[in-house]
Each structure stands twice: as C-alpha cells, then as structure tokens.
Symmetry: C4
Subunit: 504 residues, 4 copies
C-alpha cells in the first residue's frame, strides 16, 4: 500500500532539482518529467512542493498523471491536514473576464448556435478558448467544414400537409428526438467545472444521444452515473498500444450499457494546432526558451506526442476482427475520409462510419464530411447497390454544423444523423447545462420550421432531390487580386443625407 | 351590442395583474395575452389602462387584435371623451431621426433604387427597418436573390432600329406599362402613415399593377377604394385554417374587382428573422427575461407563431379544386421553388406561378427565383412542350431586383413579369408616394435605355440568346483564406505624390 | 452677316429671365435653353451677360452650342474690347489641387499604366475625373473588362531564340510599332488644355495609330493638322440622324487622309453614368432641385439625351450600303458584343469589328471584349472557316487593358490589335504629352520583355496554345458570406516581435 | 601586374566628373559607368574616392564589378594603409531596425515557415526585403503559386500501420532526408552576412540538397568549400552569351563534385519587379530624376538589363547537344511551363525538368508549377507511356510552398521532389543558420505528422488517388462586386455582452 507523506516533506521538493506535486491527495515526483510536460515546465514549477489539483483538473483527463508517469514516481498519499493551501492570485486579465461573465446576455437573447460561440469567446479563459477553437495548420479544413454546407442549396416542395412535422429518428436502433448526436470532444472542464456532465444532463432532457470521449475531463463512470435510466450513450475510443487496456475499457463500457463503439481512425498522432501551441509559450520556463534552432526542446511537438503517446499508430484493418471478438457493441469507424475506406468498412461488416476530419484538427485540406458523404453514397450505391440512409450500414457526418438546415442537407444526401461538437462546448462554456439545453431547443425550433418550409413532414421525406449539391466538390481559390487596379477604382456611393461629407 | 365603458374605468386596469387597453375606440382585456404578445409584454404594459391606437396602428394588420384575442376579452366601446390622452415623449434617438428626415436629399438626386434603401435605412425607425430588411437565418438567400442576377450577362445586338422602344406588356391579360408589378409586402404603415396607399397611388399614375397583401396595414377595402377607376389590382392570399374566412376574403376580393389571386405556398409557418427578433428584446419585460434555458418564454418563437397562427400548414394540392369552386379569378401559386412543383401547377390548370422564396424570409438556402426560372422553362419545355413567356401559363419571379437590367434578364429567360417589393417600401418610407413615383420613373428610364442598348425594340425581342446564363446555377464558396500567407504579403502600391508617406 | 453687339448690351441680359452669354466671340441667347442644359442652369447663370468661353471649352465639343441652339438664338459677334473680364475666383479646393499638381512624382517613377490613373485621380478636377472614370449603372462591366484578362493565363515556351523580338504589326494595312492603337474618347480638354493633341503628338513619336473621336474637344481639323506627315489616323463616328451631316463628316475625313472609319454601334443612346451625374447636382440651380417625384426636371436624363440627341437610334444594317456608297475608307463596326453580329459584319463585307462595350459606359453586364473575342473566333471559324488574326476581316478589342500581357492575351486569341483609351487620358491628364509618351514607352518595354519570356520572337508566334482561356466565360458570384461564422472565427497570427500586443 | 595606388590619390577622384572607388582592395574608375549603374549613381557617388566594399558586398555577386566594367577601368590595387576609413552613419530607420532585431522571438516560438517571413519582413532592410519578396508585374503569379496548392485537397486513408513513417527519398539518385531541396536564389548576403553558406550548413545537418545559384553573393568555391564531405550540391546555371565562360563554369562545377546541372530556361531577360524598382528611386541622383517622358534615363529598365546582360536570350534547344558534349552531369531544365516543352526535354534525353515560373519573378500570369505538373504527367503518360515519379525522367516543381502538405500534394501528383527558396531566405535573414535548421526541422515534423495522417508509411504510398485536384486548373475571378447593394446591406451580428453598443 502507498505510504502517507506529510505536506511538510512534500514542500521541501519545490525546485527544478527536486520537484514533487500533489494531485487529488497523491504525491508525485515529476522532476524528470518537467521537460517533457506538454504544457511546459513553468506551470508545474509554480506548484512545486504544493497541491496542484485545482490547476490540474480542467486540463487533464483524470488519469493523465497516473498513466504518463512511471509507477516508481507515484510516491504515495499525502496527509491532507498537513498540506499548505495554495493561494491563487487573480490577475487583472482574469478580473476582466469575470466582469464579462457577469455581462452575459440572458439566454432568451441567444438566437442561434453562433451566438454561443460569440459569448464563449469572450467569457472563456484564453487557454480554454484556444484549445477548443484551434485546428490543424492553417485551419482551412476547419472552416471548410462549415463552408461546404453553403455550397448545398435547397429545392423545397410546396402544398404538402405539414401541420404535423416529426424530426425524430433512430441511430443504431436507438431513438433520438432529432437527427443530431453530441459528438465526443476532449477536456470538458476547460470550459465549465461540470465538464461533460453538462452534456449528459441536457442530452437526457432532450432525448438525444451523447458520445463519451476517451479524453473526457470527467471520468467515464462519472458520466455514465450522470445519465438518466434508459439514456443512450456511445463511446468514442482511442485505441491503446497496450490492447489489454483497450480491452478493459471496451468491456467495461459494454457492461455499463454503452450502445455503440466509435473507434477513432483519423488520429494515429494528434494534429498540430498552432493557436493552442501559442498559448503554451506563456507558461514556458524562460531558461528553456533561449535555446535555438532544432536543438531547443520542441515543446509543441512534445505536447502532441505526450497526449497521444498511448494511441497506437499501428492500428489497422486487421485489428477489427479482434474488436469483434471482445465486444458485441456495434462498431463504427470515426474519421473516414474517402469512399474507398467506407466501402472497406462495409465489407468488413461494421455498423457504420462517421465521415469526419476530426473537426479540422488533424490533417489540413482533408475534405468536409458532407462532401465525402456525397461521394460515399454514390460509390457504395454503384459498387454494392446500397441506398442511404441505410439501417444496416449507417453514415454519419460531423464538423461545421451550425444550423438545422446544415443537418437537413446531410440527411437529404443520405446521412442517418449528424454529430455536433464545438457548439455544445461553447454553449456550456458560456451558460453551463442551461446553455446546452437552449442550444438543443434552438435546433428543435429550427427543425420544426425548416421541415415545414421544405415540405417534408418527416425525415424520410427529406430526399436527395430536395438539395442541389452540384457545386459541392468545387474547391475554388480566386485568382490573386489586382491591387493596383482595385486601389485606383473609386467606389460608387449611395445617396447621402445633406451635409454628409461628399467623399467617404 | 357592446356596452360603453368609461376611460376612468379602463384606467384602473393598468397593471400586469389586470391590463386593459383601448384600440380604435374599443376596450380589450389583454391580461392573459401579455406573455403571448409577439412584441413582448413591456410595450403593452406601457399602455395599460390607456389608448394604444397610435402605437398599435403601424405594426399590426387592422384586424390583428380582433382575430387574435378571444371574443370574451373584447369588452366593448369606450366613451372617447373620457379617455386620458397618452403623452408621447420623444426620445433623443427619435429626435436624431427627425433631423435625418429633414436632411433627406431632394428626389432629383436619387439615381437608382439602391439610393432609396440607403435613405430609408437612415430615416426609418430601427424597428421598421429591421422588419422590412430582415430575412431568414443567415440571410444567405436574401442576398443570393440579388447576386444571382450578377451571374447572368447580356449578349446585346446592334444595328437594329431602336428609335422607338416599348416595354409595356400584359400580365394575366391586363396591360401594364412595364414588365414589373408591385408585389405584396406586409405592414406598410411601419414605413409611412399612408401605408400601402402610397403604392396604390403611384401604381395608378404609372399604369402598373399592385398586388395587395393579406397582412396590409391598411384594410383591404381602403386599398381598393384608393384605386383609380380601371386600375388593376391582384390579391396575395394567406390561406386560413378556417376555410370559411378564406372563402369570404376571396369572394369579397372578386366582387371588388381583383383580377388575380396569388396564393402564398412558401409560408406554412412564417420564417425566423433574427434581426427582427433582436428588436423585440428592447421591448421586453425584464421580469421575463431572466429565465434561462428552454424554460424561458421563447418570445421570438411566439412572434412567428402568433402572426402566422391563422395560416394553414395543412394546405395542399388537393385544396386547389376548392379554390376553383369558389372563384373565377385566375389562380397563381406564389412561392414555387423547383420545376416539379411548377409542372404540377401547370397540370392542375393554374394560370401561372411566382418563382419566389419570399424575399429570402422563409427557408434559407432556397435558390433565387431567377435560377429556378431557368430550370422551369427547360423542364416544362421538355416535359410539356411549352415555350415561355407563355400566355396560358405565366411565369413570374420576385426577389433581389434593383435594376431594369435585372428584369430584362428574367424576361429573356421566359418570365412574363417580375415582382418588386422592398425597393418600393424603401421608396415610400423615405419619400412617401413621391418616392414610389420616382422609383417607377427610374425604372422607366432604365427600360428605355437598356432596350435600346440591347437592340430590342420590344419585350418580344428580348430572347434567350440575349443572355449568357451558363454560370447561373453555380453556388460557389471559396476555399477559406490563408491568413498567414495573406498577412505576410505586402501589397503593391500605386505611384504616390511627393511627400506622401512611403508606406501606407 | 452677323451684327456686332457691344459687351455692355450683353451684360444687361444677366438673369434667368433673359440670359445671354459669349462663347468664342459670339453672343447666344440661352434663356430658353437654361432648363435643358445637361450641366444644369446654375453654371450658365454664373456667366449670364458675360464671356463663358473659358468655362465652356474643356467640357464641350467645339460645335456643341452651335448645333444644339436654334439658329435664331445665335445673336451675332461681340466687340471684344467692350466685354467685361470675368474674374475667376480660385476655390480652396482648387488651391489644394494645384498643390497636388506640384507634388506629382517625376515621370521616371511611373512604372506602369496604373500609376497614371493614381496620379490623375489626385490632380484632375473632380468633374473631369468623374467624366473619364465613370461607367454605366453599377460599373460591373467596366471592371469586368479588366478582370476578364485575369482569367486568361499564359503557357510560355522556352529555349527559343529571342535575342531579337519584334512587336510591330499592321492594322488595316498600316504599320504600327505595337499591336495597340489609341482609341477614341471624348472631351480631351477636360484633362489637359491641349486635349486630343497630346495623343496625336505622342502617337507620331511612337508610330502608333490614333482614332479621332467625334466628340473631341479639339476640332477634327485641328487634330489632323497636328499630325506628322504620313501619320496614320482613324475616325470614330457617331452617325447623325441627318445623314447629310454624316456624309459631310465622312467625306471630309476621307479627304483629309483618314485611313479607317470606325462606326460606333453600341450607343444608340448614351448610357447613364451615375458618378458623372452626381457631379451635376453641385452645379444645379436650387430653385429647380426642390421639385419632387417624377415631376421634377430630370437633369441627368436630359444630360444623356442632350449629348446624344443627334445620334441616330434608327441606324441599322441596311444603312451600311449607304456608307459604302459615300466612302472608300475601310468600314469597321465599333461595339460588337456577340458572335452573331460579327458574322453579319463579315457577311456584309466590312473590314472588321471592334469587340467592345464602350469601356463599360453603355449597357452594364455586357461581356468583356476579350471574352467575346474567344466566341467570335470559334464561331466564325466554324461557320465561315476563318482563321484569326485575319487580314481581310480584322478583329479588335478594347476595354480594361493595363499591361502588355493583356494585349498579348488578346493577340493569342486572334485579335489584330487592341484599343487603349482611359490609360492615355490619365497619362496626359497628369503629365501632358510627356505622359502619353512615357505610357507608350512602358508598353514597348513590357512588350519586349514579355515576348522574350513567352518565347515568341514576333506576334505571329503568339498563338492560341500560348494561353489557357478555359475559365474565361465563367461569371461567378460567390455565395453571400456567413457573417456570423466569420465574425466568430479568430484569425491565425504570424509570429510577433517581443513586446508586440498579444492580440491584434 | 596591377600597379598599387595610394588611398590619397583615389580620394581625389570623388566627383561625378571623375569617380574612383575601392572594392576588395582594388581601384576602379566608374565615372562613365555612373549613369548605367542599376542601383543609381547616387549610391556610388556616396563612396566616390573611398572604399565601397562594405556597401558593395551584400548586393552584388562577387565578380559583378569585374565583369561589368571594361578592363581598362580596373586601375589596380590600393595600399590599404593609406585608405581613409568610411564612417557609416546609422540612420534612425536603421536604429529602429536594430531594435526590432533585438526583439525577435526565440526560435522555439516559430511554428511554421510563414513565421520566418513575418519576422524577416520586420528585421530585414527595406531594400533586401524588396529584392527577395518582389515579383513580376502585379505579382499575380507569385501569389498564385501558393494559392494553387489550396485547390488541391487530400483523400486520406485510414487503418494503415503508420507506426514508422519515412519521408526520405532520392533525387537524381542521391539520398535526401525529405522530398525537398533548397533551390537557387540570388544575393544571399542581402539577408545575412554569411549569405548562401547558411543554407550549405543547414543542408548538411539535415541531409538535404542545396542548389547553388549562379548569382550567389558568396563565390561558388566558397560554397563548395563550406560543404561537408559527401554533401550533395547542384548548380543552377544562367547561360552566358560567351559559351567559353559557361563551359569553364560547368566543367569547374563538375570537377568540384556538383551532381546535377539545372539550366535556367525561363529567364532570357530578367523580369521587371516593381517593388524592387521603387527601392531604387531613393538612391537616385536628383539631377537625373527631373527628366521626363521616355527621354529620361530608364534606371529600372537598365537594372534588369545590367544584371542579365550576360545571359543569352538566344539559348535554344539546339544548344543542348553542346551541353552534353562538355559535361557528364545530369542536365535538368529549370523553368518549364507547359507539357509540350517537358515532352521535348524528355525526347532530348534530359534527366528531368523543374516546372517553375521563377517564383513569379518572370512573366506574370504564368501558371503555377503544380498546375503544370498535373498537365505534364497526363500528357507524357498519354504520349510516351511514362509513369511518375519516374527515375529516368524526374519532375520537380518549385514556387509557393509553405507546408509539408504542399509538398505531399506535388508528390501525389508525380513530382520527385519540390524546391523551396524564399522561406529559407527568410529563415536565415531572421535567424541565420539556426533559422534554416529550424525551418528544416519544422518540415520534418510536418512530414512525419502528415504521412501518418494520410495513411502513407512512405512517399511511395502517396499516390494520385490521395488528392482531389479537380479544381486545380480553374482560374476564377469573381464578378466585380455590387458596391451599392453591399453598402446598403446591414450585417447580421452575433450576441453581445450587456452594455456593448447596440450597433457596431
């Protein structure tokens, strides 16, 4: 059993030479880990010899320190009574943020999912905002995910009885009040102390399905325990190099009632997200920073590596039979990015695929899920005679969704349902569970309205001919502008009130 | 008969607990209606116990209160002499607006329809501007309506005798001085005290046809009475769940000489217009606002529901035979958005269709009328051998028109005429009837000019080969920009005067 | 013979009731003309009873007053000695402009044709700038004229001996040092006191051909007299309703040695140019301005009508045989805008056509000349087996040219030569004849450079396969932007210097 | 042998009338050269009679003065002890620049190649920045080079074992650690005193190949001597009119171990780069500047001519056999811009071609290398049955590359490797050799990440089907915007904090 250590003893190890910290009542020797810490050494040194739990919690999965630090560095339990309290000084920046939190508009003034993002950007800590909002490289794919929907246009039908409209459906055989599920996103406590539980609770209220992330801030069981009886949840899985760990996770999930296993296949290594990386410099130990060239410690690179170090880049098609051998849960691949891989998933007898690029956080210039959707239904129709939506092999897309119209476009193109991630993060980051509740309500309102206006009483009536997606696969970049010509051109002006300056 | 109530009695009911108001000399108990009022309760409470007519008039159809409030809340007539005068305090904002009204440029300086919009935006109340200018969701379709015309280019012909050019034509057999009609738009008094009568009078002067809206601020008969002998008017119809009411409206219209019935089919429920909804928050009762999540009263949702509560979302193709049974007026569907529905309308023997998305106010990402027009003429040509323009089955488009060139593009593609709405609203909102008069004159001038330059002496000469519409159905969104590259790029500069700073 | 009138007598007629003015030593009674004056009555009344020559000269063709005013209003000659001098007060605005003229950079700093426009905009009077720079309606076509060239890309060839490169060619059989001619533009004195003579002189120096405009500020004979022996000039012709006048002009031109007659066919009525129209309001008599609606005098409309009132909108194909009967000069149609009319011109035996939209000043949304060029060569190839460039039937384009690369693109697509207008106006408006000289020198330098880089020793080597024009006929308008999404997106930032603010 | 001259004697020749200068211990009479100096006479006159070495060095190839000045103007050696020291006054502008250099962020904060450019722009002299960053005409092609990559999108594959990924390859049979080489760029000392040696050293460390430019600031042998044993280097060659000189260069290069000869074929004359030309005005002698029109000395034109005067514009296909006769090095054409010329190069038995437009510095509107690549692989496949990448005939592209993803797109389309130029210049201009080291490390990190995310363990797995390049050859320019409509449109706004202004 672990020995009990006094806070006084811990407090002696408060330097770069010997650095102990306390997290959740346990003592760890992190001296040798300092330079490998994804978040930089400075932030750890701030808590050297002290209790770091409060700082640790929102930005790590619960078991991060346990699994990343060698067993021999787990020194034992601390006697809580002996631990010195850490005084937290509130910066002016933080005070400003608190004022902004006070100034949030009432939820009744939030009209759409964009509004949550606008408020979240103002009330979240910079670090949390950077982590949630960042994406790979130039963030082209992240933005394209949304933009792609704008290349799909509706062909609404008229004079159909839309007195009653119904936008409920089934995902993997389970009822959902709308063709939307809450997709997996990491580190929920960055945005709100209740973390992923905000999603669990709002999902229960609205009858939608939550996909629990591997890298949640709350522990898996906490999230399961937070659910209502009968509430359906899925699990997103990063596959560990140590398959036994993965097996334990999967079988535990099945036992606890998880209804679908979404295996992430687009992240053999976690992507570089430069906005997020920039945040880290501020927490950097200046003694490290001064190094130059490729000799310097590459903190950023380390960050991606550390978080994803357990993920197996060797995972391949052959592993799927093993998954089938350890669980009866339906298996879905999350992160399919071309029709060839969707076809392979079908041929291997999986339950479906999520056409996704990880919210634009992995490889930049991967196409949007909804564009891949059009390609998948075409080719799987041609090659295997499949029609979509299809109960046996379900197609999901995620990324870039902000409106019910976006969802309905994907439905028309053959998706069973659509995953929404960041908008719900922004909703609880600004308003907690009530934010997510409101976000779902907005979607309900939009679905009702738009099904009526489409002339589609149910989702079954949202058919391919209701959209014009002929421009979907155009990836256009305009010819660079002619600045000299444009500079010389004098803009036309609208009529002006008397007394207004003659030239703007 | 209604009893007569004293103003003193009414004045006692001046609170949330008991709230009576006077409108047009009648007393209403609106206590229970307060929380359902689309415009919020605060604005009503301001007039609790008082005469609200002046506030009520511009923002409601005349019979709104009569039809929305249960009969038992209609308390009776008030003795006018006993009613306390409501003092209206003029806000600073309103004073500024009055100054701007004074500063309007003379009409001779208005060069095009855009100019009216520019002036209207400055001289209208914010509320009125928001109501007229707003559209659904992200207002993509509203703007696309205009943008679509810019994807159609002319192929003008030369060396044709254009000494005399003639842009008059016939709509449903009735003469019009130009291929434009004034389409139906609601709540004209928001912009000008004379409301829709501004349109009636200018239409008379210029020999164009006005379509009277169901939701006019002026009453239907007022607008009919305002017409000149022989002046042609159409009626736009929202179909009531109670078909008897609709029957009464339709047959009354026919009796009063209406020449065409335009049944709106794109609005089983009125769309969400967020700019308009934002205006409402200011009139909100703070006691309501503080509620959170989906529990709070959804004022906005209520707004759309209340105004449109009488509209029948169950209206369908089967109802058309009933319409034929109650009237001899030509029937036209307003709001057709794909060729399949145009074909159905033709097969059902209707007189025509308006290819329209309701000015972008219903479902966002519906295509522009002019884009649908190209699709309709192609398919109805192929399927039924029709040629357009066609006297038996007439095609109209509306939405986004600002120039006679826009109209001529639609004519070339087969439209009989084009509906123009907002520009005329902006014209009378800034200059009353003279504004509409001028707007029509501008169109006349533009038609004369452009027919000459097209080499088309009459509208019959404006044929399909006069336009290149090959880019019309492209819905392009550029690849998201590369901000890092763009930030680094140093713009070229034109020559500078001596002494000008070397870098801008 | 005309009587001689004393200045004292003239000076009495200095009011709206009786208004005489002196121009070039002649007295005119313009009382009844006041309200029809395209430039407004105010500007005339300023010179009532006085000598208006200095004001009149730059903004009218020499014979404007003679031809627009009825003979009986030509009162006779004035005795110059008796005329009161008009004192011209220099406004502060004009003083500022004079300072800017002083601050012009030396010509050696002018690197390209854009630079002239930049300087001209700053040193020209607002009125002159507005007249030269304005175009029809929304000026879409004007800008498209330039933009179209940016949709054509080069396919340069390598390893060809380009030690000597030669960009001279022949137009209608006449030598020119480059495949560019100076096209006709009106009212040269607006930009410079020497008007069109600036062009004549620079053209002589560089061996290029000038097309003389019907509406020149200098008289036709002045321009002819300004030419060097053997210098080739063309004439642009607006055809008068009175064919005798036209016949006189044409035959006089032929006598004086004009080598080609370019009949303008895109202007049966002169286009509305709103920037130009706005300038007029400042010179307006306030007593007129206050009128409203369509009742007010439509000054702008009048402007276009007055200038173009002599132009015959009845001119048609049948008239061409008459032209052939009165002159032996080669006939070219200027303003052809589709292949069908180019074919007709060929079939009628003309010498060529100018594919032009009048610099975007006539009908907006007419396509660019270079786009029409691609269509013309294709169809005339298919229908008549023609190859271009073709000596018997020559194709010209104008509009939007700013670089020799633009010209070479048109040459590759089959043009014989390209007309350049505004850039030369801006050149002499900022630097007089030296500006035009420099502009032509810049083009020479660009031709030499770019022929080398194209791998084309002569213009004959600039063949169709040297360009990729496959995107030329795309007329794209992007889907309206998603402002909410864009507002929320936080731009990536490049690396910053230490101490720079963390957020821009 | 050269005589030795005293500094005192030199000092007498300090005027426009007689101007001697000292460079690297030799005396030159540049009196007659003053007006031909590409950089203007003023800058030389500043050093008249003095030692100009320090100013001369960074902006000239080492032998520039020797080869440009006639032998008789080489006056002899100077006695160093007798030469007056030139005092250099540091301008305020330069002081500001020195401060910015101090404020460079540590290299660890540099996240991508864009960041170097951002820092370089701030810490380089304006002149150096202008020379490196400028491109031809309107710099359309330079920007298109980068933009073209954004029209190519990935189709990543999943569930492939990417535990080990390998991005090394071979170029012309020589190993390289990545499919990138450092391409030739002129005048390295403009950015850093060590010039091209920065590249040599970093290339050695990372095992990548450097292409040595003809116009290096360091001498050829210096660069060769700076290499590590076994380090592979290529040579870029401008072919001299005097073939003997070229022969000497080529054979010397082969002797010194150069492994490939890249003959530049896109620069028979060096392009006009206007940003660079503008820099020159500041160093201009005012007495020259005042001349006007085409009479003035055209300094800019002279600049391009002087630098490129030795380059042979007569070089053609026939010369290739001569090259084969003088060297055994593989011959590659640098600057091929269409498939026809690539085919000819193949047919002539060359080792490969670089599809390049000289970084946009030669003819504007030449297409990007990566667009030409797609055309070349298609046509050489069709015409000669070739597959790419191809060991016998290798395809390279350069221009616009900023990310490993850009490189991988070119690899997928058939390139053997990609040349990168400016980014490395910016890297050493801001951080010396450490900058280039870091830049290469960033590329390594990006390659590792992106090969994993593509599902491609090696470059061989990066196949054509991994990209969607269907939009690559679209050259789109949007229809000019409708300013009046856009001005009138009121932007939607996201939710605001309380107290924020109601209108932005």
């Amino acid at each position: 059993m672990s020995p009990t250590i006094s806070g006084k003893e811990v407090a002696k190890h408060n330097s770069r030479e010997s650095c102990w910290i306390i997290v959740h009542g346990k003592v760890y020797d992190v001296t040798e880990f300092l330079d490998d810490h994804p978040g930089g050494s400075k932030i750890i040194l701030k808590y050297a010899g002290k209790d770091a739990t409060q700082e640790y919690d929102p930005i790590h999965p619960p078991d991060a320190i346990e699994t990343n630090l060698p067993k021999e560095k787990h020194l034992g339990l601390v006697d809580p009574a002996t631990v010195e309290k850490v005084e937290i000084t509130i910066t002016n920046e933080e005070k400003e943020r608190q004022k902004r939190i006070e100034a949030r508009p009432p939820l009744s003034e939030i009209l759409n999912l964009h509004d949550f993002e606008s408020i979240a950007r103002q009330v979240m800590s910079e670090k949390a905002w950077a982590y949630y909002s960042s994406a790979a490289d130039d963030e082209i794919t992240m933005r394209e995910n949304h933009a792609a929907y704008h290349r799909i246009w509706f062909r609404p039908r008229i004079l159909r009885n839309v007195t009653k409209v119904d936008w409920s459906t089934k995902i993997l055989g389970h009822k959902t009040s709308m063709p939307v599920y809450i997709t997996a996103t990491a580190l929920g406590k960055l945005g709100h102390p209740d973390g992923e539980l905000n999603l669990t609770r709002a999902a229960a209220k609205h009858g939608v399905i939550q996909m629990i992330p591997t890298l949640a801030s709350c522990s898996f069981d906490e999230i399961i325990d937070g659910a209502q009886p009968g509430q359906v949840q899925f699990l997103q899985l990063y596959v560990n190099k140590d398959r036994e760990i993965t097996k334990k996770i999967v079988q535990h999930a099945e036992e606890r009632g998880i209804k679908g296993l979404f295996i992430t296949v687009d992240a053999p290594q976690l992507g570089r997200r430069e906005k997020d990386m920039k945040m880290k410099f501020e927490d950097e130990d200046p003694s490290v920073v001064s190094e130059t060239g490729s000799k310097g410690v590459d903190r950023s690179q380390g960050a991606a590596r550390a978080i994803s170090s357990f993920i197996d880049p060797g995972l391949c098609w052959d592993d799927l039979s093993w998954f089938k051998s350890i669980t009866k849960m339906p298996l879905i691949l999350k992160g399919v990015q071309c029709w060839e891989d969707a076809l392979e998933a079908y041929d291997q007898g999986l339950a479906g695929v999520v056409l996704s690029n990880h919210g634009g956080r992995q490889i930049d210039f991967s196409r949007s899920g909804v564009e891949v959707l059009a390609e998948v239904t075409k080719h799987l129709g041609e090659e295997r005679g499949l029609k979509f939506p299809n109960e046996k092999f379900q197609l999901f897309v995620d990324g870039g969704v902000r409106r019910a119209t976006d969802v309905l476009k994907a439905i028309a193109l053959g998706a069973t349902a659509v995953g929404v991630g960041r908008p719900f993060l922004y909703a609880f980051s600004s308003y907690g569970v009530d934010g997510v509740d409101k976000a779902l309500q907005i979607l309900h309102d939009e679905f009702e309205m738009n099904l009526r206006l489409l002339g589609a009483p149910t989702l079954k009536d949202v058919v391919p001919s209701m959209v014009d997606a002929s421009s979907l696969s155009n990836h256009l970049v305009a010819v660079p502008d002619d600045r000299l010509y444009m500079t010389n051109y004098e803009t036309l002006q609208t009529a002006r009130l008397k007394g207004a300056r003659s030239k703007l």
